[in-house]
Amino acid sequence: MLLLKLAFRNIFRQRRRSLLTALSLTGGYILCVFSFSLSEGSYSNAISFFILDHTGHIQIHLDDYLLRPKIHKTIDDPQGLSELLDANEEIESHTLRVFAPAISYYEKDNSPAQVIGVALDRERSTSTLAAKISAGEYIDNALDAEGYYSAMIGAGIANSLNIGLGDELILISQGADGSIANDIFIVKAIVGNRASPDRTTVFLPLIAAQEFLSMYGSVHEVSILLKDDGEARVQAAALQDQLPELTVDPWQTVESTFYQSMQADKQGNNFFMGFIVFIVFVGVLNTVLMSVLERTREFGVLKAIGSRPLKIALMITLETGLLATLSLVVGILLSLPLIAWFTFTGIELAEPMDVGGILMSHLTGELSLFVFGMPLLFIVVFALFISIPAGMRAARISPTEAMRSN
């Protein structure tokens, strides 16, 4: 206790210097926390965005459909697969999809389109498709009076073809059996806007797409939403064991380009944090060494009256640790409301920012133990590391030489 008291009072011996050191520690900590929060928050938002938009946490395909999509690479028993997935308690929901490129026509205009057939009810609970409708309403599986299915089209197609709600959209593609696929669909909804990723997509009821593409009840993709965001890899591996004839991938594989760029960016962020920490610790090292140098005589006396060298080194470590702890407590108190505001309110950007290939116009942070804990751990470890050479110097002081110094 007396040692702690001694360390505490020694910190306040040179108030101005200790204050400046504490400020650099606090400032460094807040910068690191902010940087982590920004990075984690941006990526969490980006991940949530594409997971809910279309990717899901896990996707199931046949063979290498993900890398080389072909219309004939189909999952032929989606009904049985759905039953298996519905029984899995880790899974929140899942949806079935088919994909095909097509050409869309309206009157004299045509435009390339990506046809996606979706299991409408399942899609509603798995992705944000329903929420992206900017005009019209979410379609159903019913045929209209003239025997046409409904379609939801991207705003880009609507604009290119100058087509609106209630108009007849003609699609031409190639069926899975090699036949020419063509049919008429009634536009019931416009999805997103002209900048949306699905601006050239035509969403059809799954059954309509299967009929249109002659796929006879098969699908290309099953997208799964899990209850726990962090379980994608584990659950994908478990499902892969259950479904050896299919390919099960977590979102990290499905969105590998994004994931790799995120990892690289995070490493860059760690480097940035390391740089901040380095600058902070040059200052701290200077303070600690100055403090030891100034008190050479005192350490000599402490050794003379019986303090063990290790105890003296411990005292220096304690002083540095205390200064770092006090600075970090202030840093946490100051950064907590800042990060909370950043997380729950965020910053609206004038120009969208690219986050791993996804344009984000609203930046928010992340408020988590990791965001606060990681820089804290970094700083505490470095502070203790820095106190070692200073402590060793103090511990090695010869009492006779120390007492000759001023």
Binding site: L2, E298, S307, R308, T400, M403
Partner: protein
């Protein structure tokens, strides 16, 4: 009386070169008995401080032995030597050398903390020592709020509180005015007589020397005269 500390042909030379070598202490053999009040006297540069440092295990002799309670402290080092100093030797320095961020009480208490003395016993001994050195009521003051004489009294209390076998004082009155210096010496003498505590101190002040029971005269590192009054 029995021997507390002795030196046998102890030497402390500085420098390796034969021509420039300084023989701060040269072949000194002395024995200090329990309860003695001994002054090591001599002009500046005669080796008083070096000899005291050798007696206290603060410095290692170039050759010879320093024995305290039949233990050759010249052969000790590191934590063992630190513990030995803590338990057997009390130090009083010329410049008081109190810990500036501690109060008088805490300065006295610190050494007992190193010894692992219980809190209640530490408090009892601190109160007792402050009374003995005449600093009752000043225990909460930090060194910078005490006069030189009062600081040196705290240093005396710090040196004595752990009940060492010997107290070594390096020119304890050098930074005090003569009246305060004599008062301090009288206090040390009183503690020496009341507690049969062994004091060895260095001085070149004639008035201070006169209070010592034994005078060891050093000149150029050698014992010139060893007289008991």
């Amino acid at each position: 009386m029995s021997g507390v500390i002795s030196t046998t042909d102890v030497c402390r030379y500085f420098g390796d070169d034969e021509e420039t070598m300084v023989k701060a202490v040269d072949r000194v053999s002395i024995e200090i008995e329990r309860g003695e009040f001994t002054a090591i006297v001599g002009p500046s540069g005669s080796g008083k401080t070096t000899l005291l440092h050798l007696l206290g295990g603060l410095d290692n002799p170039t050759s010879g032995a320093v024995e305290l309670s039949d233990t050759n402290i010249a052969a000790m080092s590191g934590a063992v030597l630190s513990d030995f100093r803590r338990d057997h030797i009390g130090f009083i320095f010329q410049s008081y050398n109190l810990i500036p961020v501690f109060s008088a009480e805490e300065n006295i208490e610190y050494i007992m903390l190193l010894q692992g003395v219980e809190a209640s016993e530490r408090k009892r001994r601190v109160t007792d020592m402050l009374k003995q050195v005449g600093l009752e009521g000043l225990g909460n003051r930090r060194p910078n709020k005490l006069s030189g004489g009062q600081q040196q009294r705290v240093a005396v209390a710090r040196a004595m509180v752990s009940h060492p076998e010997i107290i070594l004082a390096d020119e304890p009155t050098a930074n005090l005015d003569s009246k305060t210096g004599i008062a301090l010496l009288d206090l040390m003498k009183e503690l020496n007589e009341n507690h049969n505590m062994t004091f060895v101190f260095s001085t070149h002040d004639e008035k201070i020397m006169s209070r010592a029971g034994r005078l060891i005269h050093l000149h150029d590192g050698e014992v010139e005269l060893d007289e008991t009054k």
